[in-house]
Amino acid sequence: MKIVVCIKQVPDTTEIKIDPVTGTLIRDGVPSIMNPDDKSGLEMALQLKDEKGAHVTVITMGPPQADLILREAYAMGVDRAIHLTDRKFAGADTLATSHALAGALRKIDFDLLITGRQAIDGDTAQVGPQIAEHLDLPQVSYLEDLKFDGDKTFTMKRHIEDGYQMLEVEAPCVVTVLSSANTPRYMNVGGIVDAYQKEVEVWGFNEIEVDEKDLGLKGSPTSVHKAFARGLKPAGELYEVGTDEAVGIIIKKLKEKFILN
């Protein structure tokens, strides 16, 4: 089985602080990490490799420093790493990004394409489904679990708002994975030692199959109207009272806000 996993380098948003004066993000010293949902997608692929045997490729689109997460993927156990990078890709929104990735994926043979549900820097959850549309492949989003019958059918557990869906899907297909699906493995020390000895294939516009007008800023219909930091919530009111009185106060407050009638 051949698996491709799309991964993205993101700022570790748990480490980001807001400048209290200017209201802007303080990006200095914020580490870059492999997006958590993508890492779980990669773990899912590596578990399939461990259990059934598979060839796992990772691909990322990003600036030269995104090389780091491809090395990390090598140290976790992938077989091939592709870095999509070209000035023509710069300024891409989700649509232009998915066009570039789909352009690269047309050049790769695979049975299963895995992406994370969404990236913690944008939280759109659009790129995975868009790739599936461009490639005209069946897609299953919000995956918690996936089993392979060893031939061509996947059994999938999909998390939906009020429960789960169990699905059977034939290869090739696209899935997007939740970080709750698994706990990704650590990089292996021997894998780290080898990670920089291995080749990362660098692909630009000329290596992929895509229409140039669909790329970069030109291919991005999204425009940011305004960005602002949300104000801090005021301190709450603290009551030190018994249970009965507390319930009374909560009900009164909920009625004031018209949450209860």
């Binding site: 140290a75 990089m187 292996n188 020390v189 021997g190 030692v193 080898d194």
Partner: protein, 379 residues
């Protein structure tokens, strides 16, 4: 000259910090409190290659460097000094001398199991009457056909209870003093070999420190490590390498105490201000950090020289001396800055101060390090 980590080392540091924070730190207080050897942590470390970092790939190791190994011991010790010393004794005192002095057959037999973490390693030199005076060995090994018969005991042996393979030193010719000592590889379960009393210690309480007892212990001749009568040199060289590990452990303890203290002084308020706003706190922190960073430079330099196959004995002695004394000083200040809370087990700096003390004692006391350093100056 370049003080930056390589990309590979940066990646390694990212992994080991994550591992220490998520897998090791949560157990540190319990391991100390219950004097419990963290078997599950060793299994996790084994799975990802931490038990064989500087062992070449051909013997099942990760094929990494001593710099990486020292970074691992540092990061593990920053959250749990017990875990740090388990890795250090296993790697530096058991796997390393087998790699350095073992025959090809010995390397093939022991290294893959040690490097994969399937087996844990230990080292036995110290005896009740032979500590710093290592030449005063009383354990004897007498030739008997194809075997050696070993009698005596070793004390304060790290990993003892949980190890599967031990590098031990014994007198093969008492009349020759240090030139009559020979090294042997002894496996758990060898007839006549048993584990004696377990020590109750001030710090590193999760590491199993026990006595090794040899009563007519029969060891095949093929288990001799290195040549007959060359054991003292093997022990001294092994301890040179071990000192990089212990220096890294001390460095980690100091860094861990700083990390805890920085967090605490920002939260703790007295006189209406966080105590980080007081100049005394700031100056103490500055001194703690400067000395710890200096320790780090010494540790990395010694490890680098070992990797580069340069003489590193004095560098390792300086690194251990300075890092150990810094760990003691920094943890003492960390407890002071925590005030009364720092004296309780509610905060980890109490444990760190207890853990720090041993780094001034084992694998050569600070006094021994001063002897090594000055002897090199005055030769």
């Amino acid at each position: 000259m370049n003080f930056s980590l390589t990309k590979e080392q940066e990646l390694f540091q990212q992994m080991i910090k994550d591992f220490a924070e998520n897998e090791v730190k949560p157990l540190a207080a319990e391991v100390d409190d219950l004097e419990r050897f963290p078997v599950e942590t060793v299994e996790k470390m084994a799975k990802i290659g931490i038990m064989g970092i500087p062992i070449p790939k051909q013997y099942g190791g990760a094929g990494g460097t001593n710099v990486m190994y020292s970074m691992a011991v540092e990061e593990l010790s920053a959250v749990c000094a017990t875990t740090g010393v388990i890795v250090s004794a296993h790697t530096s005192l058991c796997a390393a001398p087998i790699l350095e002095y073992g025959t090809e057959a010995q390397k093939q037999k022991y290294l893959p199991k040690l490097a994969s973490g399937e087996w844990i390693g230990a080292f036995g030199l110290t005896e009740p009457n032979a500590g710093t005076d290592a030449a005063g060995q009383q354990t004897t090994a007498v030739e008997d056909g194809d075997n050696y018969i070993i009698n005596g005991s070793k004390i304060f042996i790290t990993n003892a209870e949980f190890a599967h393979v031990y590098v031990i030193l014994a007198m093969t010719d008492k009349s020759q003093g240090t030139r009559g000592i020979t090294a042997f590889i002894i496996e758990k379960g060898t007839p006549g070999f048993s584990i004696g009393k377990k020590e109750k210690k001030m710090g590193i309480r999760g590491s199993a420190t026990c006595e090794l007892v040899f009563e007519n212990c029969i060891v095949p001749k093929e288990n001799m490590l290195g040549k007959l009568s060359k054991g003292f040199g093997i022990a001294m060289k092994t301890l040179d390498g071990g000192r990089i590990g212990i220096a890294a452990q001390a460095l980690g303890i100091a860094q861990g105490a700083i990390d805890e203290t920085v967090k605490y002084v920002k939260e703790r308020k007295q006189f209406g201000r966080p105590i980080s706003a007081f100049q005394n706190t700031q100056f103490q922190l500055a001194d703690m950090n400067t000395k710890t960073e200096a320790s780090r430079m010494l540790v990395r330099k010694a490890a680098y020289k070992k990797d580069a196959k340069l003489p590193y004995s004095v560098d390792a002695a300086m690194a251990k001396l300075y890092a150990a004394e810094t760990a003691m000083e920094v943890t003492n200040k960390a407890v002071q800055l925590h005030g009364g809370y720092g004296y309780t087990r509610e905060y980890p700096v109490e444990r760190m101060m207890r853990d720090a003390k041993i780094t001034e004692i084992y694998e050569g006391t600070s006094e021994v390090q001063r002897m090594v350093i000055s002897a090199n100056m005055l030769k």
